[in-house]
Every structure is written in structure tokens, then in C-alpha cells.
């Protein structure tokens, strides 16, 4: 399984929705505390070395998240630590990049997610307590959603309903929003501590998972949201990111400050179905490929990016 060593600490990894062998990695210098950032576009190749860098873009501040456009195969959007949102086109030569930089958030932008159904807009979540809605062709944000009382760590579109999204915040609430409504439509006090990540079930549009500083992952059904469907214990420290599999309806992948990546089946009594401890620092980024079933990637503060098939050892050569 190939490994990519980045010069900076990894923060996020995303597979391209167009090319099976392509992924983007967001990295930040000095653990993202203070320093530059870099976005790597990697390509998987059949032979050695397995993964190569196609292009890299340097940024003045840390890159906390990156996502691929769902409408243009060569375009990616980056969430930057100086509050800006930058758009890169890998089909253009690096000196022409970035092609856009939107400076609206008052604090670090922590996550960016592209709408998979409408394919024309994306969300950014920031430490300035707001979520913003953007379209690439517009010079400014379309909407600002300001209700959270603390940093918003992630905003994720519903995979079936193009106007609905969820946001996870440090104010310990998960909010469901509809872009056609002025405010949130649901407020779920999902955890007693900061909620770092959330993701929707791709096959059941009313179910989503949240991960928190309290080391648990909770699975919720919005139709009966007072009590979670499942509480997944097993991580030793805060769970930094959670992701529902695009291929199996009950499979969840998560990564944590305990340096492991875990796989869960929340419908099963003994939910933990896989654990990978290949990282030697906080594991902070994880993604599951939409195009190749079972293909996963993770990155962490150890500056490494691993890509592997479920069931195999990420460190195997």
C-alpha cells in the first residue's frame, strides 16, 4: 500500500469524484498552529512507488480542508486558516492558480463540502461560528448561516436532498438546515462536548453520525432525534472525523487523536469491525472513495498519507 510523505502535517484527504486514482491532501505547517500550507494532488499508479504527486499549491496560511468540485473534474476548493476560501484548477498551470480567493470568514475556515446532488454550490464552516454557502461563479457568498454559539467544525450536504445540510459545532449541538429556510430546522444536542465532525448515511437520508471530543460516535435518526440510534465507543481520544461509506449502508469510518482509523457497523452489537493503527501521530483526515469500493485514505499529523483497501494493512508494501 503506498504512502505519501508530505512536508507539512496532514489535515484532510479527499478522493476525486471523477478519477479513481486521484486524491487531494490538505496540509499545514507546524501542526496548523502558525505557518504556511500546501495542497497536494496525488495520483495512484499501478507500480512503484504507488503514489506520486501531480501538482502542489502553496498557501500563505494553513489548509484545513479541501474538497473536489462535483461539476468540474479538475477543480478543487480549499479551506484556509486565514479565513479565505480558495479555488484551484489543476488543469491550469500552477502559476495561474488559485483562480479565486474569497475572503469573508472572520476566522479560520475549518471545512468545505461540495454539493453532490446540485453540483453547483459548496459550504464552508468556520471558527467564526458561521456556515457560508457559495457558488463558484459568484464573487461573494450566497448565504451566511449564523446560529451556532461556537466554532463550526463541519458542514455536510445531505447526499439525497440538495437543499439540506448538517453542521457540527463546538457548542455541542448538531444543526440541520435547509437553504430555503432562514434558520436551522433542527437542533440536536448530540453530545455533551464539542462535536468535531458529522456525516450523512448515503443510503438512508435521515440518518447521520456525529463524532465528538467525548471519544464517541453517535448515530442519529432525525425522525426521532432525542435518543441516538447507536453510540460507538472504542476510540481512546477525541474522534476527529467520521465518514459513512459510499458503498455499504451501515459502514462508518472514523479517525481519532488516538492515532487509529476505525471501521464500524452501527447495526451490529459489536460495532467495531476494523482498526488500523498505521499513524504515529493524530489521525485527522479520512476519506472513502466513491468510485472504488473499499478504497480508503487517511492522513495525520505524522505528515503521511496512506491509501489502502479495506481489509489490507495500510503499511504493507
Amino acid at each position: 500500500m503506498p504512502v505519501f510523505k508530505a512536508p507539512f502535517n496532514g489535515y484532510s484527504v479527499k478522493f476525486s469524484p471523477f478519477y479513481e486514482s486521484r486524491l487531494a491532501v490538505a496540509t499545514a505547517q507546524n501542526f496548523g498552529i502558525l505557518g504556511n500550507g500546501r495542497i497536494h494532488v496525488l495520483d495512484l499508479s499501478p507500480g512503484a512507488p504507488g503514489v506520486t504527486e501531480t501538482v502542489a499549491f502553496d498557501t500563505s496560511d494553513a489548509v484545513y480542508d479541501v474538497c473536489w468540485s462535483e461539476s468540474h473534474d479538475s477543480v478543487l476548493v480549499a479551506a484556509i486558516g486565514d479565513g479565505s476560501v480558495k479555488i484551484y484548477d489543476t488543469a491550469l498551470p500552477p502559476p495561474s492558480n488559485p483562480i479565486r480567493s474569497f475572503q469573508e470568514h472572520g476566522r479560520e475556515v475549518h471545512s468545505v463540502d461540495y454539493n453532490p446532488t446540485r453540483r453547483d454550490s459548496f459550504l464552508t464552516a468556520s471558527w467564526d461560528d458561521t456556515v457560508k454557502l457559495w457558488a463558484m461563479d459568484r464573487p461573494a457568498s450566497i448565504r451566511t448561516f449564523k446560529e451556532h454559539a461556537y466554532c463550526v467544525y463541519q458542514a455536510i450536504w445531505n447526499p439525497k436532498h440538495g437543499d439540506v445540510f448538517a453542521s457540527a459545532s463546538g457548542d455541542c449541538t448538531l444543526r440541520i438546515w435547509d437553504v430555503r429556510e432562514p434558520g436551522s430546522t433542527m437542533i440536536i444536542p448530540a453530545h455533551d462536548f464539542e462535536i468535531l465532525s458529522c456525516d450523512w448515511n448515503k443510503y438512508d437520508d435521515c440518518i447521520l453520525a456525529t463524532s465528538s471530543v467525548d471519544k464517541t460516535i453517535k448515530v442519529w435518526d432525525v425522525r426521532s432525534y432525542r435518543v441516538p440510534l447507536a453510540v460507538l465507543n472504542g476510540h481512546g481520544y477525541a474522534v476527529r472525523k467520521v465518514k459513512f461509506s459510499p458503498h455499504r449502508r451501515n459502514l462508518i469510518a472514523s479517525c481519532s487523536y488516538d492515532m487509529t482509523v476505525c471501521l464500524w457497523d452501527y447495526m451490529v452489537e459489536d460495532a467495531l469491525v476494523g482498526r488500523y493503527d498505521h499513524h504515529t501521530e493524530f489521525a485527522v483526515g479520512i476519506d472513502m472513495s466513491v468510485l472504488v469500493e473499499g478504497l480508503m485514505a487517511s492522513t495525520g499529523w505524522d505528515e503521511l498519507v496512506y491509501v489502502w483497501q479495506q481489509g489490507m494493512d495500510p503499511r504493507a508494501s
Partner: protein
């Protein structure tokens, strides 16, 4: 464009023009049905699923009112009060109702109150509230920092207290010695003088009296000298105590130095090899779980970690992250180094000046080479498994994709910078029929205009899905129309793909 918070969305963005955002969710399905029937059936369930459909709970509102009426709560920002109630599980409607019932300006607006209980609670609290608000408002702010301060400054506090005590003891001893004793002596002398004058006054010469007086004076002077001696001893003990405390502080300083040297030794040792388990730090218990190093990022110029604790704990009504974990994840050693550097106000030396602004802010996006692919969850279950001898990442569970858009694209479109290494033609993949995608969005500006009639596009897809042959021919017709109208390269790609597809069908 609008960046409003709770106002109506601008009319140019998605909703149908006649849909008001303030409409309660019950009437939403009626509005939704104005769109096409197909999506209306779907979206009838949409608003009712992603909203709170529970009735308002009066008991929760009562609890909220009690909370909001508390004098200490009244001093806190509104957003914290809302956040607290949200975390307790109240819905938006319940919170709004509670805020409505608890009057904001304290007295005399009791007409808005609904129930007797609330009235009493409010009226009871308010007279006290005003008095206590002044006292307690500063108190909460003051109370929050000291616990954290105490935990850090316990030793210093103790040493300070000891020092203060020693100094006060020494001061009182000096004071006693210098002022009280002379006063005592003068008093004794005055008594002695009086004693002497008394016998002198008595003419009848009673030597026993005089002797007694002398003896009394001697006793008094002896007592005075005793007092003096005792005070001197006190002084001595005080100075001994001071010496003792000085020794103590010296020992503590020595210990601290030793510990510092130990830690630097450990760091040196660990610095030699990279992937060794990390060093705990009590300073960083806040990052036990929280992502947010925001306070540090902001305050690196100021340099004080204590300031960060204060701002973080003052910012949110919830217990800040330190209390969240029972354990702190061990942070990398270099992370601690960088944090301490920043707290000292230093900047890490490896940061470069980078200009990452767009060179051409009006740069056009390059035309997409590939049409967007359908997601595996759009059409129900995941595709079948099949082992293949292809690239290592496809070995276990290859995904049967759409028509291999990539390979055709790489053949047709020449000017790509990236390598397109996936899907060597050697891989034989079973391709299940997936309805063709809508053409790529060439003019994103039209996206919103498209958004409303989008259901029509969906209906086309649905129709196509149901019938293979007719769908293919429809697509062919569509494509030929496009090519006739002079589409760009992407359309050419589509044509070859459809041709390939039709070839496979046969």
C-alpha cells in the same frame, strides 16, 4: 447576494419566488407541490423529516424560564443562554417562547407573563435580582479565572502567604520591641516613681512599705525584662522561621531546576529519534480533545497562556474542553515546542512569505473533461463484486463504474496536464447500465435557472432508466442535437461514449 442571518433568502437563490421563509413547516408541502409532481412526492416528506415535529413542551419552557430568570443568567450574553437551552434539548420554538415570557428589562413588564407561577417567580426574583445582579455579575466573571489560576499557582500562593506571615510577624515583633516595650518601661517607671513619691508623701516613714514598693518595682522591672526577653525570643523564632522558609524556598527552587533539567534532557533524548511516544503536558489539557487552537493562534503575539484560558472559559457557558477528557492525548513533542515558542512571542523560522492571491481573479474555469458521475447510492444498492487483475487499488472490491469516461476522455482530449493512469484498457470490467448523465454545467450562472426545472431533467432520467433502448436512442438524439448546435469538446466526448455504449449493447 446576501449575508443576512435570519432574514429572508434573496429571491434569486433557490426557493420558488412565492415561498415565504417564515411559513411553518406544516404548510410547506403545499408550497412544495408547486414544483413537479415527482419531486413533490419526495419533498412532501422532506420538510417534515428535517424539522422538529414535536409539540411545545410546557415543562421545558418552565424550566427555561426559571433558568432565564436567574440573576446570574441575566448577566450573561443572550447567545450563551440560548446555547445552554439548546444543549438541554429544547427546540427553537420552546426557547423562543421562554424568551418571550421572561421579560428582558427587569421590573413592571409582568403583563406578558402567562401563569401564576411564572409571575411569582419573576416578581420574587426581580427585587433581589437587581441588587444581586450588581454583586453577582462581577462575581461570576471573577470566579471563573481563579480556579484555574489556583491550580497553577498553588505553590506560589503558599509561598506568598508564608512570606506575608513572616513579614507581619517580624513587623509586629519589631513594633513590639520598639514601641510597646518602651511604653511598658515608661509605665513601669512611672509606677515606680509614683511608688517612690507615695512613700515620700507619707511622712510617717514606713520602711516596710517602701521596701515593699521597691520590691514591687523590682518585680515589675523583672516582669518587664521578662517581657523583653520573651519578645526577643519571639524575634529569634521568627527569624528562625524565616530562615526555615528561606531554606524551603531554596529547596523548591532547586527541585524546580532539577525538574527542568530533567525535562530538557528527556527532550534531547527524544529529539534524536522521531517516532517515539510523546510528552504529556498539563498546559495543554485544553487540547485534550478540542481541535481548536484558535486562542493560541490569535494570542501568539501576546504570549500568555493564561489569557487564553480566560478567554476560552469566559467565551462559552459550557464547560470548556479541559473538563471534557478524563485523559489528555499526548501531543507531539514538537507541537509543544511550537506552542511554547508562540507563547513567548517567537515565530517559527520555517515560515515563508507566500503570495497566494489569484493572479487573475477573473480567470475562467477550464472546461470539464468528464461529465459528473452518478453516485453509488443514487440507484439503490452497491454494485456487484468482481475480482480483477488491475491496479492494486482495485484488487479486492472493484467498483464497476460508468462507461469508462476517463479512457475515452484521455483519447479524445489532448491538452491535459495530469497523467490519466487509471483504467488501462486491459482491465475488463463488467459495466452495468447506468443512465447517462446530464451534460456538464458549462454555464454555472444558469444553475439557478436550471434549479427550478431540474425536476424535469430528473424525470427524463427516470424515463430513460426504465427503458434501455429508448433511453439510448433518446440520448443519441440529444447528442446529435448538441453536436449540430456546435457544442464544445465535451460534447464530442459524450458522442464517443454513447457510441461505445451502443456497441456494447449489441
Amino acid at each position: 447576494m446576501a449575508t443576512h442571518q435570519q432574514t429572508q433568502p434573496p429571491s434569486d437563490f433557490p426557493p420558488p419566488a412565492d415561498e415565504k421563509p417564515q411559513i411553518p413547516e406544516v404548510t410547506k408541502p403545499a408550497n412544495e407541490s408547486q414544483q413537479s409532481q415527482e419531486t413533490a412526492a419526495k419533498q412532501d416528506s422532506l420538510p417534515s423529516v428535517f424539522v422538529n415535529s414535536e409539540p411545545i413542551r410546557e415543562d421545558q419552557i418552565q424550566n427555561a424560564i426559571k433558568f432565564l430568570s436567574h440573576p446570574r443568567v441575566r448577566g450573561s450574553p443572550v447567545i450563551h443562554r440560548r446555547s445552554f437551552l439548546e444543549r438541554k434539548g429544547l427546540t427553537k420554538e420552546e426557547i423562543d417562547e421562554a424568551f418571550r415570557r421572561v421579560p428582558d428589562p427587569p421590573p413592571s413588564s409582568q403583563t406578558t407573563v402567562n401563569s401564576q407561577d411564572v409571575q411569582q417567580a419573576v416578581s420574587n426574583v426581580q427585587p433581589q435580582g437587581q441588587i444581586q445582579a450588581m454583586q453577582t455579575a462581577p462575581a461570576p466573571v471573577v470566579m471563573i479565572p481563579p480556579p484555574s489560576l489556583l491550580s497553577r499557582f498553588r505553590w506560589y500562593h503558599a509561598l506568598l502567604a508564608v512570606g506575608v506571615l513572616a513579614a507581619s510577624g517580624a513587623g509586629t515583633a519589631v513594633f513590639v520591641k520598639k514601641s510597646l516595650i518602651p511604653k511598658l518601661r515608661s509605665w513601669v517607671r512611672s509606677i515606680m516613681v509614683e511608688e517612690e513619691t507615695d512613700p515620700l508623701k507619707k511622712a510617717d516613714g514606713q520602711p516596710s512599705l517602701a521596701e515593699e514598693a521597691v520590691a514591687a518595682a523590682k518585680a515589675a522591672s523583672a516582669a518587664a525584662s521578662d517581657v523583653a526577653r520573651v519578645s526577643q525570643e519571639m524575634m529569634k523564632t521568627k527569624s528562625e522561621e524565616m530562615k526555615y522558609f528561606e531554606d524551603l524556598t531554596q529547596l523548591l527552587a532547586v527541585q524546580v531546576r532539577e525538574m527542568k533539567s530533567l525535562s530538557t534532557n528527556i527532550r534531547n533524548l527524544e529529539g534524536q529519534s522521531s517516532y517515539i511516544p510523546k510528552v504529556y503536558s498539563a498546559d495543554q489539557e485544553a487540547y485534550g480533545g478540542s481541535v481548536r487552537t484558535a486562542a493560541e493562534r490569535k494570542h501568539y503575539a501576546n504570549g500568555s497562556n493564561v489569557v487564553d484560558y480566560d478567554t476560552r472559559s469566559a467565551r462559552s457557558a459550557s464547560p470548556p474542553a479541559p473538563s471534557a477528557d478524563s485523559s489528555v492525548p499526548p501531543h507531539p513533542k514538537s507541537y509543544m515546542d511550537i506552542m511554547s515558542m508562540i507563547q513567548r512571542g517567537e515565530k517559527p523560522s520555517n515560515i515563508r512569505e507566500i503570495n497566494d492571491m489569484p493572479p487573475n481573479p477573473n480567470q475562467q474555469l477550464s472546461n470539464p473533461r468528464i461529465a459528473p458521475k452518478s453516485k453509488p447510492w443514487d440507484y439503490g444498492q452497491a454494485p456487484q463484486d468482481e475480482s480483477s487483475n488491475g491496479s492494486w487499488w482495485q484488487q479486492k472490491n472493484p467498483r464497476s463504474t460508468d462507461f469508462g469516461y476517463e479512457t475515452t476522455a484521455s483519447r479524445v482530449v489532448g491538452n491535459q496536464n495530469e497523467t490519466n493512469t487509471m483504467e488501462p484498457a486491459a482491465i475488463q470490467r463488467q459495466r452495468s447500465w447506468v443512465p447517462p448523465q446530464p451534460p456538464p454545467v458549462v454555464m454555472p450562472e444558469a444553475a439557478e435557472a436550471i434549479r427550478r426545472p431540474k425536476p424535469l431533467a430528473k424525470i427524463d432520467q427516470e424515463a430513460a432508466a426504465s427503458d434501455d433502448q429508448s433511453g439510448v436512442s433518446d440520448e443519441l438524439q440529444k447528442i446529435t442535437k448538441f453536436s449540430e448546435s456546435g457544442g464544445d469538446g465535451s460534447e464530442n466526448v459524450k458522442i464517443t461514449e454513447i457510441h461505445e455504449e451502443t456497441e456494447q449493447q449489441h
